[in-house]
């Protein structure tokens, strides 16, 4: 492994930028993602920085069952994220549609139909610790030796 790759691995393990996008949830998962920021869970101690800018993100947290309003927009948000990148589905909604996946609803789950999803965190809503451990579990798999794997 080249020195450059080793430096990249080290840097990427300590700085994970996270963006989240709500594609039609009940808000319950949003507030649990926000709770990750709180000093009790303190997501930043693991080198994860949460903000909502796709252009500088590494990991996209997708929350919510897929609504028609996001038809082309979610794809374009996903394309704006620079490589290497990963998307994590938070909650039951992006996985199965949860309680909203019933006749006459407008949603179109799962989100995996629209963008590639690397990990899923089930729960309605999942606890902040579960969200945190999912991000920490996905990051090394996707980002370590990214350039080597790409070749």
């Amino acid at each position: 492994m080249s020195l450059l790759q080793r430096v990249k691995n080290f840097v990427r393990s300590k700085s994970i930028h996270v963006a989240y996008v709500d594609v039609g949830s009940c808000n319950g998962c949003d507030i649990e993602v926000l709770a990750c920021l709180s000093p009790r869970y303190d997501i930043e101690q693991y080198g994860i920085y949460v903000h909502n800018n796709p252009r500088e993100a590494d990991i996209l947290l997708v929350i919510g069952a897929f609504t028609p309003g996001w038809e082309e927009k979610l794809r374009s948000v996903w394309e704006k994220i620079p490589d290497p990148k990963a998307a994590i589905a938070i909650g039951n909604c992006p996985i199965s549609g949860c309680v909203f996946n019933r006749p006459h609803s407008l949603i179109d789950p799962p989100v995996a139909k629209h963008i590639p999803i690397s990990a899923q965190v089930p729960g309605c809503p999942p606890r902040p610790t579960e969200i945190l451990s999912a991000v920490l579990a996905v990051a090394p798999v996707v980002f370590k030796d990214y350039e080597v794997k790409k070749r």
Binding site: V21, L37, N52, G69, L106
Partner: protein
Amino acid sequence: MKRTVDVSIPVGPVHPCWKEPARVKCETKGEYVLSAEVELGYMKKGIERIMRGRPWQEVMFLAERVCGICSVIHNMVFIEALEAISSIPVPDRAALLRVVVNELDRMQSHILANFSYCYTIEHETLGMYLLDVREKVMDELERITGARVTCAYIVPGGVRFDLRAEDALHLRANLAAIEEEITRYMGMFENGPLIALRSREIGILTREAAQEACAVGPTARASGMPETDRRLRHPTYQKLGFTPVSREEGDNYARIMMRFQEVLQSIALIRMCLDSLPEGPIRGGGIPGAGEIAYSGEAPRGELSYFIKTDAAGRVLDIAIQTPSIMNIEACCHYMLKGVASLADVPSTFVSSDPCIACTER
């Protein structure tokens, strides 16, 4: 009349400061905002369409998931509407426990709203302090109901779990700690020079404008309309002698301070409930029957109304929900944002009205 519009700037739907997608289109002249318009439709799931024709046992959980932040009040209003249709009595202890859980939910929602505002005006320290206090409130909610969010605590004829004596003790101790910390953070918010620069005299909603836009909740009460509080018409709150607080300024600062004051008021209400909590059952009997009713309650963001029509088997034939945020978003876009001097104040003004897009669009 010809208007000079330099540029039309869209803010959102994916924006660093916003928790949920909404787009605000601002017509600006330089930095000065001439007018703003909101574009919704990113979160429409059609919950009311799913609810129709389903038994109340299923609709109860769907009603909770209209809004995850204020799930307890959606649960409470739906169940109390069912109880009013089929005249199901509620034991005194259960009625007071409902108020305890509802006020805890209001506290966490208000603290989260204030966190969002502090985060938007880049005062992250105060925001993180507030999030830390919120975790204490969430602990209490979890201790009483068994879940942090969407706890389905209230059922027809009572509540699901009793408040044990050790939980009451824990709740009292935690309330004392929360009160002390909130009072301290209120002082920080009141006296912070940076906060005053970003909040005072910005996004003013006068009393007349608030009435015109039908503003509700803390947004209206910060503009001097205490009578908008639906808790005044709730029998349990009437028994507790509840009187709403209000402020006169109507700017961003007043709206945030209003929420702080309401958190303190909620703490006082919970203490009153704990003091007067009678012994007895927490769940009576009763079967939801046929009928129709329009029923309202006070959500953390304002007045929440349900119109429900049920049949004899307790199925929901027709349902219509009116949530508070839609009125506050209207007040925000057409009155508060008009004349905001700088584009930097657009997100903070929008966040100060505490919009909840999930329950607006359902």
